[in-house]
Symmetry: C2
Subunit: 207 residues, 2 copies
Amino acid sequence: MARRTKADAKATREALLDAAEELFFQRGVACSSLEQIARHASMTRGAVYWHFRNKADLFTAMIERVRMPFHELVSEASAAHPHTSPLAAIQLGCEYGFQRLEKPRYMRVHAIVVHRCEVFSDIDPREIQNTMVRDCFNALKDYLEDASQQGLLKPDIDPLTAALLLQAVLSGIFHNWLRDPQAHSIYEQGSKLVKAQLALISLKPLS
Amino acid sequence: MARRTKADAKATREALLDAAEELFFQRGVACSSLEQIARHASMTRGAVYWHFRNKADLFTAMIERVRMPFHELVSEASAAHPHTSPLAAIQLGCEYGFQRLEKPRYMRVHAIVVHRCEVFSDIDPREIQNTMVRDCFNALKDYLEDASQQGLLKPDIDPLTAALLLQAVLSGIFHNWLRDPQAHSIYEQGSKLVKAQLALISLKPLS
DNA sequence: GCTTTTACATTCAGTGTTGTATGCAAGGAC
DNA sequence: GTCCTTGCATACAACACTGAATGTAAAAGC
């Protein structure tokens, strides 16, 4: 068959990643063979082995397309809404994150990492999740310590516990939604619950 | 080889489940073959196929050994601590649950369901988790509605939202711990956070 | 315009796994 | 004591998947 131009090759790579995403999501990582993935992208396994070393390499490349560190979300949010309090920044960052998660690609890949893959070769999905969670928690802690120093928090709760609770709430919202994404909008449900939780720990009602 | 008595057969079955538990936990469900499981229990695949129809059947049998409905935890707890308020019942039920999770068997099996298995044949780990979560949430909602009617909750939070938040907190605690069970005790961390969250929603300080 | 890469397709060998079929020795009921 | 059944072990057939080797035609470089 005809060889493709450099741009075509890039498109092929993306198509393979798309196909992997769909099949991993539908049948799970272990149950999706490279042959099936290639066929789903109208290619052969040769193409897969050209662009990726093996299944694990393909997998990590797929993950790379959907990274979203919390501080990125917040700075993106605060670009649109400047001069906000730490608590409002958290609320906005979460809402931006929830909105991203509703995009099919983000939903699918996160669903794959959480529910459709297990340890294989040198990939451990828990580590992937751990880095995401740690990043999020550290950001929350920073914002809540800021809020505490500005006297925005109720005096009977320390910022560390507040961060732990809020991070747990976020984790819960995330996992509850991901277990059945069709059931409800994580943006609506999540925003509501984050707001409620922030109201519980903040001294004054949120703006 | 010698045929075993009925009690021996039962022991064999348990040994196979134990072996599956260990291997699933170590290498993941997909990466553990029935041959490996049988060998790990000093048996052959014939024993596996005698006691279980296939891998999926073995898997569900393994799950069956660690079920713990929330109301069971609470009734077990309130047998030891009678005449408690709904909020204290929640606290106690959670603590009993956390303590169970720290037992190796419970920890391993839950870790397997959450992190070491994906959809295979007709098994969907999400459904298993969904039933657990729904059961827990319904129980929480009942207790919190009781608490609300007894005037124990802050007036600015409705029992439904409180239940959603608390369930999210529990989910978060669970997943955060399960991602790295060695890092901390879920009993200590979880009890602390549940207490803090209950304090946030309750009108008076908890006894 | 020629050569060298690139971007795949095709083929092949090897391995691991599943399900089933069969064998067999001891248990259990009478 | 016998006969059927149980509780496995062993053997077999079929398949699916991986990784690597090889083939190849067109793009890129000069």
